[in-house]
Symmetry: C2
Subunit: 78 residues, 2 copies
Amino acid sequence: MALDPGLLEILACPDDKGPLRYLPDEDILYNPRLGRSYPIRDGIPVLLISESTDLDEDEKKRVDEITADGSQSSSPEG
Amino acid sequence: MALDPGLLEILACPDDKGPLRYLPDEDILYNPRLGRSYPIRDGIPVLLISESTDLDEDEKKRVDEITADGSQSSSPEG
């Protein structure tokens, strides 16, 4: 059940080598620094820059909010 | 901290498509059914059959025990 204490913590973006966030609902791994997502296909995380997607501002904002750890403050400017 | 409720649960072996176990100390993902391990290199899980390692019986036994969920009974036959 809780057998992965740190798998996500050791996964790294192949580009900036920093940590990734996991979005279970969308099966992606997300790099919040680059605003980039990596697909997980058939249970295989595809951590290749060539397969990644650069999110646009709206998408980034949405995903940042989903993956933000607690600080889920919606900004006042609509 | 506990942002990955299920990343490990969705990861799958590229061969038998079944679930993998994670060994943080050895940076590997392990398929207990095939006795096979996949490396995690620089934070990138390399889920390719060509990069996997088939463990020998002793290794399998050792890793099975490490990753067993609670049922850590050492077999009587040494």
